[in-house]
């Protein structure tokens, strides 16, 4: 009986043990581990091989150093379990251990325990959110730490990790995939300088604690668009400052123009009316000027010798001559020296060239304007009444004085003075009556007044071409008037009087040459009257020449002369040749 019971008991026990072994045959999960973030503690495990649909997993948790194991889940189909609720003091304790086993029906597998003690060191740091703002070209960022719902009120991220919090910031400019820049900040607020770039920028943040070995996780990308702002406060201020500076500069310049550089009025004494009729330079005779314009006689110009044309004397006494002014130079007849024997008819109506008889006198008998005519020193005398000669020589058609450069005026005072032309080929006229006018010897030029007694100027072109002869006009004028002085430098004269040759009878009927000096005063008076009649205000030298007498002659000569003077265009240089 007893052996039978033993055998039955043994069989029963073996069957029981076999069933237990069968139950433990279920494999255990290969690995169990924690994946935790701030107050988000998830236990993960790998499934057992060949698990069935009825297989589930049992989870247990142990507080390190404290018994027993606490069963958390009896059968979980998932491969993870949230243990946050039972591990809230993780950050203030020594940690936890967890274990998992597979359950399939009545079978149970062995427990698989986590390899490491689950502690705060295994928590992965994250950020809750990142907010970006644009302000004055800066991207202002604010990092919000995680605020999990299950965390106790006193356990905040800042309280648990109170020191050495750090954030790494990565900026990416869309659409590029590479990171634009990395930056580490030690506070939850940061700013990024975009350096004026525009476009879309995306920012990521990774937290860390420098005193701990916790790993960090990159946050979700936050993007912001940066557009170019023109109406910023800085730009507006700069704009208004620029406007103020510009207006200030303009006001200053305006004030300068109005009040500093105001056109100053000349003193009344210096004012003189411009003789419209006598504008010589760059102005054509005004219509009211009763002056006839005569065409140039080119033939007369050609008679000027080349030497004379290119003579330095030309240039020295007359700026406008140069050497290429044939028009002037050919006006030989006009520059003839006055007849030493002043004779009215000779002076007035003598159309033939006087003893001056130089090239200057050869032509342009009808010229109405003076010109420079270079003459030999031996120009015909009759320079005593140089001007007379010229006056009388107006019959040649020269109605204007010109500068005649006399090379050798000694003994030829009259010549020099009235030296109408200096022609090399002009026959020397040594018979210049030195007695006529000893003072004229020194005179270097002559005032040519071809219209003193001759016909009116008929050559307008010539007249006009005399424009550059401005510098020489003065002396011409002087030469015509002032023979007694003989020393008047040509440069003092400002212009010359263009005289109608027909009217030049004044001179012829006037004082004889030997009396050239005598009636000076007389003439001066007459000249005054005549000059006053002329009323040319722009004779800058008028007051100088007045005593010399304008082209005037006593008596009827004056009268006729006056009228002619009025009518004749007064060609005078308004420019100061000084």
């Amino acid at each position: 009986m007893l052996p039978r019971l033993v055998v039955l008991l043994a069989a029963f026990l073996s069957r029981r043990l076999g069933s237990d072994a069968h139950e433990t045959e279920l494999p255990s999960p290969p690995s169990v581990w924690f994946e935790a973030e701030f107050f988000h503690h998830i236990l993960h495990w790998t499934p057992i091989p060949n698990q069935s649909e009825s297989t589930c997993y049992e989870v247990a948790l142990l507080r390190y150093g404290v018994e027993p194991w606490n069963s958390i889940s009896n059968c979980s189909q998932a491969l993870s379990y949230d243990l946050t609720a039972v591990t809230l003091d993780l950050y203030r304790s020594n940690g936890y251990r967890a274990r998992v086993r597979a359950v399939d029906g009545s079978r149970r597998s062995n427990w698989t325990v986590t390899n490491t003690r689950f502690s705060v060191d295994e928590v992965t740091l994250t950020v809750g959110s990142v907010k970006l703002e644009i302000h004055n070209g800066f991207i202002l960022g604010k990092i919000q730490p995680p605020r999990p719902k299950m965390a106790p009120a006193n356990d905040t991220y800042e309280s648990i990790f109170s020191h050495f919090r750090e954030y790494e910031i990565a900026i990416r400019k869309v659409p590029g995939n590479f990171t634009f820049t990395h930056k580490k900040v030690k506070h939850e607020n940061f700013s990024l300088l975009t350096s004026g770039e525009v476009g879309e920028f995306c920012v990521q943040v990774k937290p860390s604690v420098t005193s701990r070995t916790n790993k960090g996780m990159w946050s979700k990308e936050e993007c912001v668009s940066l557009t170019r702002q023109y109406f910023t406060v800085t730009n507006v201020i700069i704009f208004f400052a620029f406007v103020l500076l510009l207006s200030g500069a303009l006001a200053y310049c305006l004030a300068l123009q109005l009040y500093v550089r105001r056109r100053k009025k000349l003193p009344r004494v210096l004012l003189f009316k411009k003789p419209s009729a006598f504008i010589f330079i760059s102005q054509r005779p005004s219509p009211e000027i009763q002056d006839t314009i005569h065409p140039l006689d080119e033939e007369a110009f050609l008679k000027v010798s080349p030497e004379l044309r290119n003579s330095d004397l030309h240039g020295s006494t007359d700026s406008g001559f140069g050497s290429t002014k044939p028009s002037l130079q050919t006006e030989e007849p006009q520059f003839l020296l006055p007849d030493p024997h002043p004779q009215a008819d000779r002076m007035l109506g003598n159309g033939e060239p006087p003893e001056l008889g130089d090239s200057c006198s050869s032509g342009s008998s009808n010229s109405t304007d003076s010109g420079i005519c270079l003459q030999e020193p031996s120009l015909s005398p009759s320079t005593g009444p140089t001007w007379e000669q010229q006056v009388g020589s107006d019959s040649k058609g020269q109605d204007d004085s010109g500068i005649g450069l006399v090379q050798n005026s000694e003994g030829q005072a009259g010549d020099t003075q009235g030296g109408s032309a200096l022609g090399h080929d002009s026959p020397p006229e040594p018979e210049v009556p030195a007695e006529q006018d000893p003072t004229a010897v020194v005179f270097r030029g002559y005032l040519r007044q071809t219209r003193c007694a001759e016909e009116k100027a008929t050559k307008t072109g010539y007249l006009e071409e005399e424009l550059p002869l401005t510098g020489g006009l003065g002396p011409k004028f002087r030469g015509c008037l002032d023979d007694e002085a003989g020393l008047h430098p040509p440069a003092l004269a400002k212009g010359y009087l263009k005289q109608d040759p027909l009217e030049m009878t004044l001179a012829s009927s006037g004082a004889p040459t030997e009396q050239w000096n005598q009636p000076t005063e007389e003439w001066s008076l007459l000249a005054l009257s005549s000059c006053s009649d002329l009323g040319t205000s722009d004779w800058s030298f008028a007051h100088d020449l007045a005593p010399l007498g304008c082209v005037a002659a006593p008596g009827g000569l004056l009268g006729s002369f006056n009228s002619d003077l009025v009518t004749l265009p007064l060609i005078s240089s308004l420019h100061s040749s000084e």
């Binding site: 150093g65 018994e67 027993p68 194991w69 020594n94 490491t116 420098t210 701990r212």
Partner: protein
């Protein structure tokens, strides 16, 4: 009139020195590179703690042993625990893996340096061990003795993170990282 002021000043100076004295001990290890030790431990933590088969037993955290230590006892407890690890744990542990052994050696050398630094602080100031500090040290030794030596050593090495965290908290050690 000046005498009360002088006496008050002296009293304040004494009190300040006393507080500094206490804090000074706590700040003795401030220059220690704890971060390096922590990093070294993290690399071997998985391997060391995986060998610990007695999770329900602890050596350093029995009844929150270290959490209840007062500031006056920090110096004594720190000194005693450093000696515990250097004299017993590192000597009793037999590590076959050379990589892990290198890390353990590095940690041990750091503990030796910390002991030297702490000894210099103790020579300048008094580091008396009160009864509470002595009791905590005795409990730790008793826990270590209840386990088999190798298991105890492994467990003690596995609990290095607890000891390092306690040092950083009580000694206000700044991170050099």
């Amino acid at each position: 009139m000046k005498l009360p002021c002088v006496s008050l000043g002296l009293l304040g100076t004494i009190l300040m020195l006393c507080s500094v004295d206490n804090h000074g001990l706590r700040r003795c290890l401030i220059s220690t590179d704890m971060h390096h030790i922590e990093e070294s431990f993290q690399e071997i933590k998985r391997a060391i703690q995986a060998k610990d088969t007695f999770p329900n037993v602890t050596i350093l955290s029995t009844l929150e042993t270290l959490q209840i230590i007062k500031p006056l006892d920090v110096c004594c407890v720190t000194k005693n625990l450093l000696a515990f690890y250097v004299d017993r744990v590192f000597k009793d542990h037999q590590e076959p893996n050379p990589k892990i052994l290198r890390k353990i050696s590095s940690i041990a050398n750091s503990f030796l340096y910390m002991q030297k630094t702490l000894r210099q602080c103790q020579e300048q100031r008094q580091c008396h061990c009160r009864q509470e500090a002595t009791n905590v040290t005795r409990v730790i030794h008793d826990n270590y003795d209840q386990l088999e030596v190798r298991s105890a050593a492994v467990k003690s090495l596995g609990e290095l993170d607890i000891f390092l965290a306690w040092i950083a908290k009580n000694h206000e050690v700044t991170s050099s990282a």
